[in-house]
Symmetry: D2
Subunit: 339 residues, 4 copies
Amino acid sequence: MTQQNRMCGIFTPNVVPLDTHGEINEPETRRYVDWLIDRGVHGLYPNGSTGEFTRFTAEERRRIIEIIADQTAGRVPILAGAAEANTRETIHACEHYHALGVRAVAIVSPFYYKLTPAGVYAYFKEIADNSPVDVTLYNIPMFASPIDVPTVQRLAEECERVVAIKDSSGDLPHMMRMIAAVRPLRPGFSFLTGWDAALVPMLLIGCDGGTNATSGVVPEITRKLYDLALERKLDEAVDLQYRLLKLFDAMLYSAEFPEGFRAALSLRGIDAGKGRQPKTAVQQMELAQLTNQLQCLLAAEGFTDEPVGGCPAGDGISPAQLDRIVKQVVGELRKRGVS
Amino acid sequence: MTQQNRMCGIFTPNVVPLDTHGEINEPETRRYVDWLIDRGVHGLYPNGSTGEFTRFTAEERRRIIEIIADQTAGRVPILAGAAEANTRETIHACEHYHALGVRAVAIVSPFYYKLTPAGVYAYFKEIADNSPVDVTLYNIPMFASPIDVPTVQRLAEECERVVAIKDSSGDLPHMMRMIAAVRPLRPGFSFLTGWDAALVPMLLIGCDGGTNATSGVVPEITRKLYDLALERKLDEAVDLQYRLLKLFDAMLYSAEFPEGFRAALSLRGIDAGKGRQPKTAVQQMELAQLTNQLQCLLAAEGFTDEPVGGCPAGDGISPAQLDRIVKQVVGELRKRGVS
Amino acid sequence: MTQQNRMCGIFTPNVVPLDTHGEINEPETRRYVDWLIDRGVHGLYPNGSTGEFTRFTAEERRRIIEIIADQTAGRVPILAGAAEANTRETIHACEHYHALGVRAVAIVSPFYYKLTPAGVYAYFKEIADNSPVDVTLYNIPMFASPIDVPTVQRLAEECERVVAIKDSSGDLPHMMRMIAAVRPLRPGFSFLTGWDAALVPMLLIGCDGGTNATSGVVPEITRKLYDLALERKLDEAVDLQYRLLKLFDAMLYSAEFPEGFRAALSLRGIDAGKGRQPKTAVQQMELAQLTNQLQCLLAAEGFTDEPVGGCPAGDGISPAQLDRIVKQVVGELRKRGVS
Amino acid sequence: MTQQNRMCGIFTPNVVPLDTHGEINEPETRRYVDWLIDRGVHGLYPNGSTGEFTRFTAEERRRIIEIIADQTAGRVPILAGAAEANTRETIHACEHYHALGVRAVAIVSPFYYKLTPAGVYAYFKEIADNSPVDVTLYNIPMFASPIDVPTVQRLAEECERVVAIKDSSGDLPHMMRMIAAVRPLRPGFSFLTGWDAALVPMLLIGCDGGTNATSGVVPEITRKLYDLALERKLDEAVDLQYRLLKLFDAMLYSAEFPEGFRAALSLRGIDAGKGRQPKTAVQQMELAQLTNQLQCLLAAEGFTDEPVGGCPAGDGISPAQLDRIVKQVVGELRKRGVS
């Protein structure tokens, strides 16, 4: 593969809309696919971490890819999350997704057990040697066994099928080390970042694109960031990166992942439904407050109206909000038996 | 539940024997169950971390419990690992295992995503409220979201179905904090340690037993440790704990978990087969060396003969072994392109 | 050195009483030394972590040892913290403390920079080769470069001057691994634990004693624990360990270390003064609340009267306390600009 | 302070040249100061982590600043590391360095003990309220208590004396969060990065400069990077950043910090001497090998000749080097008693 056909651009790791019974909401999923493509994302990345692949059964994971491949109908390439319980199951998934016409699969490094670099290598080698479709390595060290630079290099050297790495570490020098180690040998190898907070800098040092959760909620911004970085409109790109960071932090750190993204998506008119991970009453209150805050942030970008009570000027918290927080703290203290 | 019917004793988290195709070896699994019960383990704990539950499909996990429940035939209680992709699937597994007559299920805390204490609580609460069978919490912070002391206490207070915790942190004061928080309210609640290296001290400070991987390989020792601790034969117990520690460390730290346990089990005459996680050539050599070392350790305990080349006196490495190590290092350096 | 003259027992890592100007309060320090010896501690350990050695100047550290050596006057052995900026300065301190008649020095592993095992070895080797007084290694991996088992073994083998290790990791199997590696070669080598929360189990698996911050506040309990463990009065020892754990956790986790110990010491009639690390207004309020809670815990052990407002039955929080907490939370929220 | 007089540019955290007795080599230190200024660094930063401030005595730390201030003679601003054992000692150092005419002091967050954000705040607040000279916060979470974003924001709001932060976390989004939180309120507040590996991206998202260890060895490159980033010559800047990364990684990760920098500096003609941290024989061999490798890297940049044996083409290791490595491994194995 030459440089010109590297996988590049913004691949959206889509949330899966759920209905009121917690089942895959197929019509809304199809509508969401169109909505994303209409807003300019370069590809779709179902069964990623944002797609909560671990919370679906093996059958559901297949169905998700089937729906999305069918609805996409070749308009954009699909990067299909294909990790299953073991290499044999994963290879079967690769075969199935290949038959559906996906551009490549993405395989997260083994998780639960923390493997050594040798184990990580052996795992990907076996899959790459048996997959009929191109493979993207997926490094997300906060959740799974890390894929270190020598392992990426060795897999890139030995396995033609391995064509890309998606790295969600957010560690910029780490990305540079991978690019320095692999690009001379494999000019067609693609480097995608999963860390929206550093998307512009990552693109500037040579990344080919990103698989960014924000692009599922504000595809207009994430796509624009990509374009600005490519056009080397640095000041505009950095300014927009700061705005995206604010949204990203609010969606990522204020609720169990990816509930903040699900909440924001609903504000944009996609009925994402409730996630499958149960919530306490306090968590539900917090999510309601977060939704309010997200609505203000999205309104500031012109994507929604402000919430009924209005938004605070600057970053302040309104007296009414303070009152709610205090009541909630007191309630929580009571709940923990302190009164 | 009163103190007298707390779950107690040694529950073996069994490895699953695999055949040459990597499939569940049912006859050997049945033979292994008998072998363990004959050697005195108090219960069985299939689909634990040692049982590599994440490397089997949902269907295989069910079949493993079915085989073991059928073979056990009520001789000892079964603690069935029942974690599935989400709470609904997990509750279905609880129902199925309940119908098979297991004593309780064990549910590992959510993994991959790292949940907050509130999320961990909500997860177990929903399962406990819907399970027809007693539930054991499973805390293994090196692999999954930690279950902190207030969460254990709250679940113990609110959920009668939650009857035990298996803790594999190995943190002794943490175990004491849990016991101090829960035992006054729930005298029948059981505390099991999954950290073989501290089994005796854990039993001395009040644990009811353990789910210990070593008991799958040297059930005679692990069971003996339990008896000595209960009989307060302190010096004998501590001496034996030191010997078990040596075996435990060798099996745990010298290969990808649980390959060391699988290798040792084969030395004891149970054909455990090869694990599903692929291995590099170097890893296979290392595993062969480890097997040799394990054979020496098991021979020292009278469980096997010494290997053909004999065992070193003390902990030394023989010149032949040194030679092998050096060759291996050189080979590995070559492989990495340094010659 | 043979087994019989191993350093053993409880060495108190004493807090340094400060006067209202933040200077070393020499008269109170001398009174505290007598108070501790009268209550049965086996030795003193000035300039430890509890003694905040990093917050004193090099001159003050020397003066602290001089005062304590003079006041002790040979009644109990002294383990003198002697770590200075580099090996040369540390060796000078060893020489000075040797002239003062201390039993041994304790040298914390290099901190700030995180050294490799080779660096840690080289550091201690140089000191041991040049110290005129016995050396205790001090392993506290939460604050300083870890000293791993091979390094302890190698230093024990090569350096006669190295006679002990103080380990504050609290990791019981780690202690067992060190004992297994060193005791056969050096029967006179001493193992001391700095983790009060596991003192009884540590003594049961072969530790010779401890350097325990609680012994500076409730020497009666820590000493009693040691005696019970030696007499193998297991049930009494474990029961007392649970009570000590409660005190230890309260003093350790509710304020910046070692402010909780300083506060508790003042409740016992030693005027410890205020620590040198500045505190916010909120931290001062929290410390006042902690003092109240500690007074209840100490009163329950018969060491103090209850505070004026009485103590809650069980572990509850009184309505008045709840009210204070809520006010404080609100105040803190205001301070952070949310109103 | 307005935007135009923010501290900006490259401040060199200089190594301190030592003589054969391990004493400060004053003449060489003076020569080094001139060498750095001649090569274009914007300022000097003595007593930083690269300057091994913890390995010098308090008196030596003062002397280092005195020598450097005297030699600099106002040609470039000095940022003087001023952290001492406690706030009082630190404030005295601030006063002394102020009298010497330094531009500002840099105070590392409290280390050894890990403080809470409240403790970190209180520490800096007390210093800032009493220092006669501007204060730079120094965040290096791998070695010291982290300074979180709200703490930086609060100190920037409340303390006019606090004029900058030096952040060595290397976390780019973290830097953006600090800038977003502080710059609107304090346009004159300066953000400096200590992580050379991300210098260009940091400058592009708004950092004012860096305190970079590489600038002490290859000031020409680090300064050039700064200029290219300011001139928005993106492609040249990124290309040079990749080359600097290679040097940085080699100096940082192949020996105990900062020995790699000391070795490289000697290759550039500054007699840095041996560091004070002792080394094993194996470490000395490794350092000799690293020096060889560094000479090749510096030769590739035109700063030195190639070593006598020549340099490998590309990144390979020569057969002679492989031979040395193998001999060393075998020797080390022997040393550990395996033969």
